[in-house]
Symmetry: C2
Amino acid sequence: MSAPRSLEALIDALRKLPGVGTRSASRMAMHLLQHDRSGAEVLARALQQAAASVRHCSRCYTFTEQEVCDTCLDTTRDATRLCVVETPADQLAMERTGAFQGLYFVLMGRLSPLDGIGPREIGLHKLMDRACDGIVQEVILATSFTAEGEATAHVLSEALKTRGLRVTRLARGVPVGSEIEYVDLGTIAHALADRR
Amino acid sequence: MSAPRSLEALIDALRKLPGVGTRSASRMAMHLLQHDRSGAEVLARALQQAAASVRHCSRCYTFTEQEVCDTCLDTTRDATRLCVVETPADQLAMERTGAFQGLYFVLMGRLSPLDGIGPREIGLHKLMDRACDGIVQEVILATSFTAEGEATAHVLSEALKTRGLRVTRLARGVPVGSEIEYVDLGTIAHALADRR
């Protein structure tokens, strides 16, 4: 005895999603078939729709349904500042702060030599072309403060500086709302060195 | 600035899956669009195929693509024994043991009064009809050994006994491979009471 073929195929397809193992995939499939068949239809159409219409912005490389995304087309933004982020989610977080009025470049990843992701894969050339358009004056590196994010920032910084651009990095320091006692020592040391 | 509309729709649809929150849904959507568009197509087709072709067996209520499932149609099986399980996954686990040659009835749930799942929702009437076909002599209750599974077994047992059927329950006891020291006390007490 085994599960019906189309149920097996569904479990297999769900298992390819990041963070989903055989058990979760099986649970998802059972749930959809038992309790939410219309949800299965909605998900199927959403997948097809997104796969067909979502593309990369030709200027900043973020996800968009247009040739150039709304942010890049927005002439009220400060085109002299370019913020480099790893993902569209990071870009969204920056936007939610309301503290940045410039434009973006989305790497869609970060350097990770062990996974075969080098400067070419994160689009270093595209970034260089974009940053050297004659309008951008400052590039703000907002990659993650992890080992890979820091390495990415370092490589980008070296490359961009050779073109005479001003390159800055988000400040490291104590997060808002933190009690000093519970902040990790590396962060306190950085906050002390960068005190103002 | 916000994500493209079709990307938002995809994240919304993924978030409806059990165990998936906004962050996982977003991660899944980004992964599919960035690294696995063919996977998105495969998943969409698998969803539509399964939703269209998977139905319940008219005899045991498990998932199947036929009117009656292969297990119920298998004349080599012992039709005098009927094993009641909560889900097709439980049925598959029973089958994998190779220790049961009878037929099944799949409740597709368990009693959960707080969630509004009563005897009607788990198909008590269907089970009574199935068990009283004149061929079944013993009903083996293999619902979970949780509070809800035990309550389900109790209700089914009471109902089935009034029809003169022999009703048994999987044995409670120490799992194979366990060291007594690490087995919970309730299990040891049950294993002691049911010693043989």
